[in-house]
């Protein structure tokens, strides 16, 4: 067999090796993507729980804070926005636009709830009611879980982005529909910074 043919054979073998390596990288990226998608599913569970608690909260508080209509309505509005944001983000974990929208909506909800709870401090009857105590307890627990799930998601996103950006993965990532970095989920904290309005 001629030298040229042997050369071709070696080249072919090399090409196969490179191809396999590329497939290996692709598989790893897919696995990491699965992981952050899985983590996002966890966030969804906790956020739904959070959303479900709010109508209950509003009902309980309404009896005692009937003239704080603005604040109550702000909470309901923010909650509905957040529910919508979650629905839109449902199929797109890591998508920058979806994450930004969801983060903004949830951040606004956190802000509105924060104001409501701050206000409720000035209503001792409300604070003492068993219903309210149970609710605040559940809310705190849910907030912790949301925060926890969000952290896990962001960690998983970091792992994916790092793997994708490292050498030599970065050479292949573009070809395999892993071109875009996944986005973190941040709850926009600007909404919380606003001072609670107190009206008498």
């Amino acid at each position: 067999m001629s030298g040229a043919a042997l050369f071709l054979a070696i080249l072919a073998a090399l090409a196969i090796v490179v191809a396999m390596y590329a497939v290996g990288i692709f598989n790893r990226l897919v696995a990491l993507k699965n992981r952050y998608e899985n983590a996002f599913a966890q966030i969804e569970v906790q956020l739904k729980r959070r959303h479900d608690l709010i109508p209950n909260l509003v009902e309980t508080v309404k009896g005692y804070m009937s003239h704080e209509r603005e604040t109550l309505e702000a909470v309901i509005h923010a909650r509905n926005q957040a529910v919508g944001g979650l629905e839109k983000a449902a199929g797109k974990p890591g998508d920058p636009a979806a994450m930004k929208a969801l983060g903004g909506a949830e951040g606004a909800l956190t802000g509105a709830m924060g104001r409501l709870l701050a206000l409720s401090e000035s209503y001792p009857d409300l604070r003492a009611s068993e219903n309210m105590q149970q609710l605040t307890e559940e809310l705190t627990s849910t907030e912790n879980k949301v925060s926890f799930a969000r952290q896990a998601f962001n960690d998983a996103v970091t792992l994916y982005n790092t793997a994708k950006q490292s050498f030599p993965a970065i050479l292949f990532a573009g070809m395999f529909s892993h071109s875009q970095d996944a986005a973190f989920l941040e709850f926009d904290s600007q909404a919380i910074a606003e001072a609670p309005k107190v009206s008498f």
């Binding site: 067999m1 043919a5 042997l6 054979a9 072919a12 073998a13 196969i16 090796v17 396999m20 290996g24 598989n27 897919v30 696995a31 699965n34 899985n38 983590a39 599913a41 966890q42 569970v45 705190t140 627990s141 907030e143 912790n144 879980k145 925060s147 926890f148 799930a149 952290q151 896990a152 998601f153 960690d155 998983a156 792992l159």
Partner: protein, 643 residues
């Protein structure tokens, strides 16, 4: 009496030599085929301009060509297999994700998912392994299930949508029991290794397919006369490679069939043993027989993993010789001798099981008396264990169970388990928790403590088994923080007690593969002397846990060790042994082969039982040691002897 678990592992090992032979045969056939192809290809001289026929001048016996073809084949096959084996070293989850599985979260409340998770949990506690992650194959309508992984630590279970929807709880339990028996029998390791190795012979067909596709595409793109012949050659080459690829698949299936069929019968039998309910698994098989989609798996990854499934995943056609599973009718007949051949027609979803509360066992309320000792029963679960597991689960307070299922709260469960009984130490620990704990967790721990204090020692390890899936879902940095805190809590009172060590050991054994990759035992035992050292460390540590005098301890160690090594084992002095050195010794012991591990465990059991009583903490210790060696140890039933 060698226990079944180790027997199976050894048998699997012996089969390996037969498999290697068959694999070698496959590679040889491929080389021959490729050589013929190469000889024809290099003998091609072009087209005779007058007759328009292809002209060949083939040299049939060309040693140089043969060597080149042989080398190339070996490189490609070897490389592909190595690659796949490396990829699969990620453990069972790689297989599950490859089949399109979706991980079910342990705190799921969706009824179908909850049913599956509950059945798997009961089985896990009964077997003494952590609840394996359950992957749901949403898009598979066929009734099927699989178990994949290298060891009980990284095992995963997969269930198809068809299985979840069509089967009753009893039948589902039968299927899950069948899969658990694969886990307990050590079948999984061979299965997943087969997947990796066989990939090499499948890859040639894949290359052929690729060549065919690309040359057809190139041929269409440029239709000049002078190109026609070379394109045709490439097309012919592609087809030929694909044909060779089928040869590879043929051998692959032959290899798989020779391994898996016998084991499937065995797994069916074990499943019956676990559940005392032949109707469960037979019912599942009958439903597969009567169901249009049968047990078909549509995923493109099915051919590679067909031997991992409960039912025949690919339609055999003329492959009945190479079917990975025994014929359905045969399996049913063995389980139900009175069966007349009628399959169960199923259309819609199964009727809701009215015996859900009875949890799929013939509950007559009394616990079955259990005769065998724990070590003899290893790897063989019984209905007594399953009954015990169901009862245990019912005894757990709902809040605690719910917490164990949730990734956030599972950490609090573990921290609460680590709380010292001594008030002063506990204060110290709570202080550490307040200082370093993750947000919200210290409060949750305090809340769970009162309920958990009411639980007996029997609940401790099962609780960890329940919590492990949730803990696996921690992110890497969350896990590191968790591990650090567990370590700090254990060290708080400057003294590691037995349970703390056991807990840490079990957590490490089962969580590390998840976060740090499935590691094969790195360091191997290199000499008889090293083995003796390791054994002395292990047995002395265990002896010193009991209540015997120095001389009695020495005697128990020597006696237990006599079955293991020739030289008499010495009891090591107090200051030379401790739970820390036990860690290292166990790491080395994990590299022993099956029969050696069995003897080590038996020796451990003897030493523990030497003082006439087996404290709960000692039983837990035994379980932790079994875990570290990759040997599932079912819970010690009330009144059961250890050895």
């Amino acid at each position: 009496m060698a226990t079944q678990f180790f027997e199976h592992q050894d048998r699997a090992r012996r089969q390996t030599s037969r498999l290697i032979f068959l694999f070698g045969l496959a590679v040889a056939a491929l080389v021959l085929g490729l050589y013929v192809l190469a000889a024809v290809g290099t003998g091609f001289r072009g087209t005779d301009p007058r007759t328009q026929q292809l002209v060949f001048e083939i040299v049939w016996l060309d040693p140089l060509l043969m060597i080149q073809v042989g080398l190339l084949t070996l490189v490609v096959v070897g490389g592909a297999s190595l690659y796949r084996v490396h990829q699969l070293s990620g453990g069972g989850r790689v297989v599950a994700e490859g089949l399109g599985g979706r991980l079910l979260h342990s705190d799921s409340n969706e009824p179908l998912e909850r049913k599956i998770l509950n059945v798997v949990e009961e089985m896990a506690i009964a077997s003494g392994i952590p609840t394996p992650p359950v992957y749901f194959l949403d898009h598979e309508e066929g009734i099927n299930a699989f178990a994949a992984g290298f060891s009980p630590s990284d095992a995963v279970i997969g269930i198809t949508r068809g299985c979840a929807q069509q089967l009753s709880r009893d039948e589902l339990q039968g299927v899950v029991a069948h899969e658990f028996s694969h886990i307990m029998n050590g079948d999984m390791r061979l299965n997943i290794r087969l997947m990796g190795v066989l990939y090499g012979i499948l890859v040639i067909g894949m290359i052929g397919y690729f060549l065919l596709r690309s040359s057809l595409w190139a041929g269409v793109a440029s239709r000049r006369n002078s190109r026609d012949n070379s394109t045709m050659v490439m097309v012919a080459g592609g087809i030929a490679l694909m044909a060779l690829g089928f040869l590879g698949t043929f051998f692959g299936n032959l290899i798989k069939a020779s391994v898996s069929r016998q084991r499937e019968f065995l797994a069916d039998a074990s499943a019956v043993q676990f559940t005392r309910n032949p109707a469960g698994i037979a019912g599942a098989l009958k439903k597969i027989g009567g169901f249009e989609a049968g047990s078909q798996i549509e995923s493109p990854a099915a051919p590679e993993s067909s031997h991992l499934f409960f039912g025949q995943a690919l339609s055999s056609g003329l492959n009945s010789l190479f079917a990975t599973h025994p014929p359905l009718a045969e399996r049913i007949k063995i389980l139900d001798p009175n069966w007349q051949g009628a399959m169960t027609e199923t259309g819609g979803a199964a009727a809701p099981s009215q015996s859900a509360a009875a949890a799929g066992f013939a509950g007559d309320g009394t616990a079955t008396a259990f005769a065998g000792s724990a070590i003899d029963q290893m790897g063989r679960i019984s209905t007594a264990h399953l009954d015990y597991a169901v009862r245990l689960l019912r005894e757990l307070p709902a809040a605690v169970k719910e917490a164990a299922h949730d990734s956030f709260a599972a950490r609090a469960v573990v921290y609460a388990l680590l709380m010292d009984a001594d008030p002063e130490s506990r204060e110290l620990q709570l202080g550490i928790l307040d200082a370093k704990g993750e947000p919200g967790v210290p409060e949750l721990t305090r809340k769970l403590l009162p309920e958990m204090e009411r639980l007996g020692p029997a609940h401790r390890l099962p609780l960890i088994d329940l919590a492990l899936p949730a803990l696996r879902n921690l992110s890497t940095s969350q896990y590191e923080r968790f591990q650090g805190l567990v370590h700090d809590l254990v060290q708080a009172d400057d003294h590691i007690d037995l349970f703390e060590w056991t807990l840490q050991r079990i957590l490490l054994t089962h969580l590390a593969p998840n976060f740090e990759g499935v590691r094969r035992p790195g360091r191997r035992l290199r000499s008889e002397r090293q083995l003796r050292q390791v054994l002395e460390t292990i047995l002395s540590s265990l002896a010193r846990v009991g209540n015997l005098s120095e001389s009695a301890m020495q005697e128990s160690v020597a006696r237990a060790g006599s079955a293991l090594v020739k030289a008499e084992l010495q009891l090591l002095p107090e200051d030379e042994v401790g739970l820390a050195s036990l860690d290292e010794a166990l790491g080395l012991a994990a590299s022993l082969d099956s029969s050696a591990k069995e003897r080590v465990l038996r020796a451990c059991a003897q030493v523990i039982a030497a003082d006439g009583e087996v404290a709960d903490s000692e039983a837990e210790l035994f379980r932790a040691i079994g875990d570290s060696l990759g040997c599932p140890v079912p819970p010690l039933l009330p009144g059961q002897a250890l050895v």
